[in-house]
Amino acid sequence: MFESIKEFASEFFVTGDPLIYGADVGIALTMIAIVFVLTYFKRWGWLWREWLTSVDHKKIGIMYIIASLLMLFRGGVDALLMRTQLVMPDVEFLNPEHYNQIFTTHGVIMILFMAMPLMFGLFNIVIPLQIGARDVAYPFLNSLSFWLFFWGAMLFNVSFVIGGSPDAGWLAYPPLSELSHSPGVGQDFYIWGIQISGIGSLMTGINFIVTILKMRAPGMKLMQMPMFTWSTLSSCITIIFAFPILTVTLALLFLDRYLGAHFFTLDGGGNPMMYINLIWMWGHPEVYIVVLPAFGIFSEIVATFSRKKLFGYKSMVFALMSISFFSFFTWAHHFFTMGSGANVNAFFAITTMIIAIPTGVKVFNWLFTMFRGRISFKSPMLWTMGFIPCFVIGGMTGVLLSVAPADFQFHNSYFLIAHFHQVLIGGVAFGYFAGLYYWWPKMFGFKLNEKLGKWAFWLWNIGFYVCFMPQYFLGLDGMTRRVSTYGWDMGWGPLNMVSTIGGFLMGIGFLFQVWQIAHSIKFMERDTTGDPWNGRTLEWSIPSPAPVYNFATLPQVTAQDEWWEEKQRREQGHKPAPQPPLEPIHMPRNSGIPFIKSLCWFIAGFGFVFDWLWMAIPGLAGVAICMLVRSFTYNTDYYIPVDEVKRTEAALRGSV
């Protein structure tokens, strides 16, 4: 009996690696600390009522951001482990198997569990405020999306202490990801973790499309929407066309592994190339999904901090939409070398190059917005300025890669690694950081410390170039991606050493950001104006943090940058338009179902990973019960009475 328990435990828990034992201890201590703190301060009820069951888009946004910053930490630790292994030739820090697991989880976490939720967090916080709405279109669904992401991410993350991590690369190409080559449970964690959170992403896409199209404040025409709202719309449209493909692809891979189907196997008539086509039909649009909102953020920030209207509004909208359209016709550039033939390669090379045109248009628009503006160099603007040269270089190396014949040389080399980190860190990460600094006062009611922020900015930026510029040359020297070690004779040592130093500089930059947040929570002054940056769009017209109903009376929109125009009118001595009388505000009720239902998905997913039907079936049954319970619930909303709105407004603004 004891022997069989011991045998089970040794297979169930990952053993034999001191790093993982360390992580086990860390996880256990953190869990104990969380439970202790919540119990000691009697905060369980508060946590449940105020956060876990909340359908308030602002709270959901904050939860997204917290979760994604934790994931940034984990993905960053993975990155530093890899850089440590590669710091010089013949290092024996990680064994090759462990190295494979780390680069796989690093990629998955950074794209799907860091960039995506950080983006959704910003959508949630900003979009309803920016379009003058009281909520998103489907608050319940919004909460469900968050919890599906959360539990999906948790399912993926437990793999490194339970069962073993996936190690077939971040897109899990077959046959590596098939049962024949990955017999362990790691790949199943990958499938279910991504599948569960992917459903959440798809629903977020639907939710925000409807929110933007149907819930704008009275008078706001499409061509008066703030640019971040436009970028969110284009990103969400791309989501609804791309994510169903991912859902199917992962489901087919699951059927291969679980039921012995032959979609992508080497035998039985399967076609691994089919998988690679499908995964990139999702995967390429995916990179535009995450970068488009960053473009929107830069547009907002450039206009605000240059005190000027955004240059080329219409061309900006056109650029966003054409990028999201063309993103679906570029997927084959990921496998120019796989023998598709010259005509196919030429088609995809040209579409890939076409994407650079609207992107270039945007860069020029930002530069022209800054031109002759009164620029103030606050953190959000710094990150925007840091982004532009970084993204331009990344874009140019991208065009180099899009040349099909040249790609035969660059393919799978460190040149590629350097390119996509340049656009993803320089574009996406810097963009979301800029957005986080910009909207932080709106979320929490205080600004982040500028001095520490500057340290973080420069460490990240210098670290970035130190880390990735050498990798272009390593790629040209023939170093391929996913190698876990190399010999002295290759001559790659010095450049790798430099690259690793850069990686750690970025790590220190992240620590500065953590310090900055902690320091600011304690010491920063409260922002009582609600408009600390002298902003242009509607979110700055209400107090920070916004009350639960956002707008006591819905704003009437007559122009692009409505709040800026309103401030101009007030400066010229025009009285603000008389406010219509307050009315009771219709709000959705909190619900525990999204949390419970997503937890049931987690249980079902865990059951499928280990092939435990006794666990998977009750999990799925729980999901079904939650759906039925929700369908039968009619009492889902309530009204905030006028008196309470008056009291809240008076407390926030000092008067009504």
């Binding site: 279109a137 489907y138 639907i206 035998d267 009771p584």
Partner: protein, 208 residues
């Protein structure tokens, strides 16, 4: 606290609250249309996979050997009829007849259930008599997955429809139940359209 909210709402905004509810319901229908777009992409991907893999029979049975058209034509006919009866249900609802509505929904659900029964019979026959399982060949993997996904959609629709009938008998025709009936009928028609593609691309092109 919440009761007080509800009272205040019901009290001073009786007129306004109705409009707002109405808005909310039309918003949900609009969202469902967008959901259907994503479902179109989902089925499109499965169709593409099927078309790529349908020749890869790996020495196993082919489409011509497996498909028995009379049964398929019968189930096609049944599903098309159910789409028609779900339309009749909506018409009854617009007339304000709860009885007619629930009656036609029952007919629709019965037709849907017999469609599923025929499909299961077909699958069982294929597995038992022809030894054609999902693991036999890439063609069969793609076939079972595509047709099975459609079947799964229909089955979910059945559960949903039964739940809705219970709600209708409890609440009658309200703004909320009306939207729910409209949405499920949209879903049902959508599945019908998908089946027409299944019938053409899988079965017709398979036996021709």
């Amino acid at each position: 606290m919440e009761a007080a909210h509800a009272d205040a709402g019901g009290h001073s905004a009786a007129g306004g609250s109705h409009d707002e509810h109405e808005d909310h319901e039309s918003l949900k229908t609009f969202g469902f249309w967008i959901f259907l777009i994503t479902d179109c992409i989902l089925f499109g991907t499965l169709f593409a996979t099927y078309i790529v893999l349908r020749g890869n029979t790996n020495g196993g049975p082919t489409a011509e050997e497996l498909f028995q058209m009379p049964g398929i034509i019968a189930s096609t006919f049944i599903l098309l009829t159910s789409s028609f009866t779900s339309g009749l249900a909506v018409l009854a609802m617009n007339r304000g007849s709860v009885k007619g509505l629930i009656g036609w929904l029952i007919v629709t659900a019965l037709l849907g259930a017999s469609f599923i029964t025929l499909e299961i019979t077909e699958f069982v026959h294929m597995v038992q008599a022809e030894n054609a399982t999902i693991g036999t060949s890439a063609f069969l993997s793609a076939f079972y997955t595509l047709v099975g996904t459609h079947g799964l959609h229909v089955s979910l629709g059945l559960v949903w429809m039964i739940g809705l009938m219970i709600q209708l008998s409890r609440h009658g025709i309200t703004t909320v139940t009306k939207r729910k009936v409209n949405v499920i009928s949209l879903y049902w028609h959508f599945l019908d359209v998908v089946w027409i593609f299944v019938f053409t691309i899988v079965y017709m092109m398979g036996v021709m």
